[in-house]
């Protein structure tokens, strides 16, 4: 009985899954192959499928002749800044939403959900006008603020669902023992929130790292994150696909690895809250 059922499983499950995995991975795999083929060879004979034609030439040029590492640093500063700002304000807000019942609670929660739905285009134009007026254009701070428009509401919702899952009896026990509200938050709830904070923080980091339109509009000569820098690799006279692919692979790597790392922890919170992207 075992043999035919295994064959059946392979035909009805493994094979279709393999096709979907291939579909999901093929474009990025093609990008990696392109990045490993020297540019001159791409022009003459196309992307090399065999390891014999591969070299790290594009990657050396990317790191040696362009400012790509500096761009990575800008992205790192912006993504980290967004993550810190988002988490700090969201932890307190999430605690308030899940542990207190107060007038206006529903309305305030609704507000954070609503913000998450705002079209980027509605915010990007006035943010440009405002930041231009305050001289903030082309600074890390401008991009941290712009990314926070997405990060804060997302973090508030994710963390509210995390805190909600921590039993309230723990808080009550601590307060009966004489802890104040804030001590309870710091000593009891915060340590239990750590897994939630880590996965929410990483997701904010990924979103800010991958963000493109704000970076393009509010950044500039001084502050140019990777997503914008990748596009400048395109070349002046003809498209340099090899170099571009190397930039795309290096630029996408940090976020992709982090994503694979946290994906399982994110699902629970996401099915409850609002998620962009």
């Amino acid at each position: 009985m075992n043999k035919p059922s295994t064959l059946r499983r392979i035909l009805t499950t493994d094979l279709p899954v393999a096709l979907i995995v291939l579909f999901a991975m093929a474009p990025f795999a093609w990008m990696i192959l392109t990045s490993l083929t020297p540019s001159a060879q791409i022009v003459s004979s196309g992307v090399s499928l065999s390891p014999a034609g591969w070299s790290l030439d594009n990657y050396w040029r990317l790191l040696g002749q362009t400012s790509f590492l500096t761009n990575m640093l800008h992205s790192l500063i912006i993504a980290t800044g967004t993550m810190v700002l988002g988490l700090v304000v969201a932890v307190a807000a999430a605690y308030a939403f899940s542990r207190f019942r107060f007038p206006g609670r529903r309305l305030l929660m609704l507000q954070f959900l609503l913000i998450n739905m705002f079209p980027v285009v509605l915010l990007i134009l006035p943010l440009f006008v405002l930041m231009r007026r305050f001289g903030l254009l082309d600074t890390h701070f401008a991009l941290i603020l712009a990314n926070s428009t997405v990060a804060i509401p997302f973090a508030v919702w994710m963390l509210t669902s995390y805190v909600g899952a921590i039993p309230k009896s723990l808080d009550e026990a601590a307060m009966t023992d004489g802890c104040s509200r804030l001590t309870t938050l710091r000593r009891i709830v915060l340590p239990l929130m750590v897994p939630g904070i880590i996965s929410t923080g990483i997701y904010i980091f990924i979103t800010a790292w991958n963000e493109y339109l704000y970076a393009l509009t509010l950044g500039g000569r001084n502050v140019r994150p990777v997503t914008v820098a990748i596009q400048t690799l395109i070349g002046e006279y003809q498209i340099e696909w090899g170099l571009l692919a190397a930039g795309a692979v290096v630029g996408a790597l940090p976020a992709t690895l982090l994503f694979l790392f946290v994906q399982r922890h994110l699902i629970g919170g996401m099915t409850q809250g609002a998620v962009k992207g």
Partner: protein
């Protein structure tokens, strides 16, 4: 459910007893203030700007035009093209993402040895930066050296190279294919979570009663994941409607106006013509049109929260 606040308030007497009532507001203040400054202030600014004739490099020529920009909008043929493109864009992308996501989730819900590996690998398109996705697909679609044409010519599906992104009749659909690829993992993951919430006993009972697998799908699986489908679907309509980065990098809205969606049109008006008054008016109109979907989604989610 235990409500802590009132007892706390009663426990701490004295002149500062009110403090206990204020605690949640203090905790919320940073988040509320920051979002007010970076979201609501710009939004108010946007509404005001939309009533002005404002070209950014001629700030002194700025003047109040009332609903002028909105009236101009209705006689602008590009607006109607962009609106129609937005309808096609959402109407095709979301169902395609959902369909592919549903198939993927059902397959991933079965038992097979490399299941967790497959689940992780399928998520890759979701994790990639949209600018990388856009450039990657431009390379795949490239009419001269792109791999898609090579493949299709090799398989004799097409006779000659197809200019996927340069043909005004094809470009929008080519970008929709890219966005379907980008978005189906999201549906797969959400639906998979829904599938795992359906008790196995229901299927066992159904197969004892002799229900075919198609009937099981129709009467157990589908009702079981309906809430997830509705939430994820609504969320995706809003997200797909808003997303313009992939189109912007792939085609820049062209050729002609064939891949202009409303948000992209607003963005291009402001970015390339620096016509912020008109661009913002398009953005505000688009937001109002999207509002009905947002309202339905908000109502659903808030009901969930109250449970």
């Amino acid at each position: 459910m235990s409500i802590v606040t009132p007892t706390r308030a009663a426990e701490s007497p004295g002149p500062f007893w009110r403090r206990a009532h204020l605690t949640p507001y203090w905790l919320l203040a940073p988040a509320v203030v920051v979002t007010a400054v970076i979201v609501f202030l710009p939004m108010a600014q946007a509404v005001i700007t939309s009533f002005y004739d404002l070209i950014l490099f001629r700030p002194n020529a700025s003047r109040f035009v009332g609903f002028g920009n909105y009236i101009k909008l209705f006689s602008d043929p590009v607006f109607w093209t962009a609106l129609w493109n937005t309808v096609i864009w959402i109407g095709l992308t979301v169902p395609l993402q959902m369909g592919l996501g549903l198939v993927t989730a059902i397959l991933l819900n079965r038992e097979f040895p490399w299941r967790s590996v497959a689940r992780a690998l399928i998520i890759i398109p979701w994790a990639l930066p949209s600018v990388v996705i856009a450039l990657m697909w431009r390379w795949i679609y490239d009419p001269n050296t792109g791999v898609l044409n090579d493949l299709l010519i090799y398989l004799s599906v097409v006779q000659g190279a197809v200019p996927w992104l340069a043909d005004p009749h094809l470009a929008l659909y080519a970008v929709i294919a890219t966005l379907t690829w980008q978005g189906f993992p999201f549906f797969a993951v959400m639906i998979l979570a829904g599938l795992q919430g359906i008790p196995k006993s229901q299927y066992e009972a159904a197969s004892l009663d002799g229900a075919s697998s198609w009937r099981q799908f129709l009467h157990i699986t589908l009702p079981g994941i309906m809430p997830v489908l509705a939430t994820a679907g609504l969320l995706r309509v809003i997200w797909v409607a808003n997303s313009m980065d992939v189109i912007f990098v792939m085609t820049g809205g062209g050729p002609g106006y064939s891949t202009h969606t409303l948000p992209l049109y607003a963005f291009i008006k402001a970015r390339q013509n620096l016509d912020f008054g008109y661009g913002t008016a398009i953005a505000v109109t688009f937001t109002i049109l999207l509002g009905s979907f947002v309202a339905v989604y908000l109502a659903r989610t808030m009901r969930e929260v109250e449970k």
